[in-house]
């Protein structure tokens, strides 16, 4: 549904997006994740035909966003960051205006406006001036606008930014209900947002792609740690652990009367990690070390995200320092 190939965009000397490639398939709900200033809005604006790219190309439903802009836009419901609206218009007037602008046939317009008012849960303010609405309502009017021409694809730039927790929950529920029959790309700098609403994520930092995949795959990118609580001679334990293959770093420290070993496993996949665990336990038991506890910790998505985006920032800084 969305294909982005080697996209880049500079504002003067600042490279906001560099060599970005990713795809969003029909039916997916994808989180576009990255810290502030990562280049999310820039990318989404290029997709919506509002900005031109400095390099690379992008298409929506097979239509190039520059060459076949109007065809691409017919497939797309776009909500800009902070959802700018005309304060002097009433909600229903605004949606009627937008549906006419987007080419909804006159006979369908009224019903479509009603449907979207309902869908975005703004029916109760249909007759209110937009300038008098709260931020949460304005955001939802923006969503109703994105939906008004029944596009198969929605691109939402930070749909929950600036909302209070209740409003966030409402907007998330709304997105979840839309996910049933829309392809959605939504940007956010809040990780829990992606965990709550998306099945996949594209992670961006400093304009570069740092990770892409399903939420579970991303979680898997954090290396699990094996935690052992052991009783026995520390020298023997150290020796056994150092002789076992597949153990990366290890920290051994006293833990009450026993010792606690925190090991990182070098195996890439879960099967390999399980096998390493088995070997370690076997070697320790053979050396008659008392094993009181064996458990693994999965890195949280939070940690993965922090590691991914900080790594990118660090290499950038190092490159800068070298210059």
């Amino acid at each position: 549904m969305i294909v982005v190939e080697h996209l880049s965009k500079s504002y003067g000397a600042l490279a906001a997006v560099s060599d970005l490639s990713f795809r969003v398939e029909r039916g997916q709900v994808v989180g576009f994740l990255g810290p502030n200033g990562a280049g999310k809005s820039t990318t989404l604006r290029i997709l919506a035909g509002f900005l031109g790219a400095s390099g690379g190309r992008a298409s929506i439903a097979g239509f190039d966003v520059v060459e076949e802009r109007l065809d691409a836009l017919r497939q797309l419901g776009y909500m800009a960051e902070t959802s700018p609206l005309y304060p002097e218009m009433k909600v229903r007037e605004y949606l009627a205006f937008r549906s006419e602008l987007k080419g909804v046939p006159r006979t369908k317009r009224r019903a479509d406006v009603d449907r979207c008012l309902e869908l975005a849960r703004v029916s109760d303010v249909a007759g209110v001036l937009i300038g008098h609405l709260s931020k949460g309502y304005r955001q939802r009017v923006g969503l109703a606008d994105a939906l008004i021409h029944s596009p198969p694809l929605l691109i939402l730039d930070e749909p929950t930014a600036g909302l209070d927790p209740n409003q966030i929950r409402e907007v998330r529920a709304l997105i979840a209900s839309l996910a049933e029959n829309h392809t959605i790309l939504l940007s956010t700098h809040i990780l829990s947002e992606v965990e709550a609403t998306c099945s996949r994520a594209v992670v961006l930092a400093k304009g570069r792609l740092v990770a892409i995949g399903s939420i579970d795959e991303l979680r898997g990118r954090g290396r699990p740690e094996l935690i052992l609580t052991l009783r026995g001679d520390e020298a023997i334990i150290r020796q056994v652990l150092s002789e076992t293959a597949g153990v990366g770093s290890r920290v051994i420290e006293p833990h009450g009367e026993a010792l606690r070993a925190t090991l990182s496993l070098t195996a890439e996949d879960e099967a390999g990690q399980a096998e390493t665990t088995e070997r370690i336990v076997h070697a320790l038991a053979t050396a008659t070390v008392g094993i009181r506890e064996v458990r693994t910790t999965k890195a949280t998505l939070e940690e993965v995200f922090a590691a991914l985006t900080q790594h990118e920032a660090r290499t950038e800084n190092e490159a800068e320092a070298k210059r």
Binding site: R45, A48, G49, F50, L51, G52, R69, L70, D71, L73, R74, L76, Y78, A80, T82, P84, L85, Y86, E88, M89, F97, R98, E100, L101, K102, G103, D145
Partner: protein, 248 residues
Amino acid sequence: MRGLWPIFKRELFAHFVTPLAWVAMTAFLLIQGLHFFLIVQHFAGQLDLSADAGPVQTYFGQTMMLYLPLLFVCPILTMRLFAEERRNGTIEPLLTVPIQTAGLVLGKYLAVLVIYATMWLPTLFYMALLGRYGEVDWHIVASGYLAVIAIGSGYLAIGTMTSAMAKSQLTAALTSAMAITGLFMIGVGEFIFPEGLARELAGHVSAWAQMNDFSRGIVDSRRLVFDATIVVLPLFITVRAVDAWRLE
């Protein structure tokens, strides 16, 4: 052209909820009212009116008070068209709908043109008043209004263009006021330049000379062609300027 009609309607509506638009229109009508009053007072003292220099001719052709107000009214009507939308971000939803830029620009332009024409509407009352108490040549009235609309169309197109090029409404208004004044000044060259090409050219672009001709019923199509150029060229540049934002 897709998008023209909804943009046109919204723009009309937006103008009528803009306080400054009302201030400008009121000021315009006050000036025209005063203008008319002075002319009528002047003619009230004269007994014998020649057909060539009646109050209607004077109103359209012989005083600056008719179109000097255009120098401020046109920039004020047009300044917000694009500059305001860029300032408050609403340009983004506007440029991400499946319509051609030309439809957007024409919709906005035609809206201010209609408002401009509406602004002149009350002055028809003066003509009716004159017709009631004396002879009025309605051909001259028609050609007078034609000139007023033709000249205004160009000024509004220039204002539309500067609104798309300037980042703020104030800059948009100032640059279009300057451009319009510049155009007017070139026309004044008719009275300054010695006989020759420069003087002829100045006479050709002169709004003053055009009003003078049209107020005597002389409708020169070359003048209308010139007016049309001043409409088409700025609007074409406006479309290109709006498209250029996409490439920024």
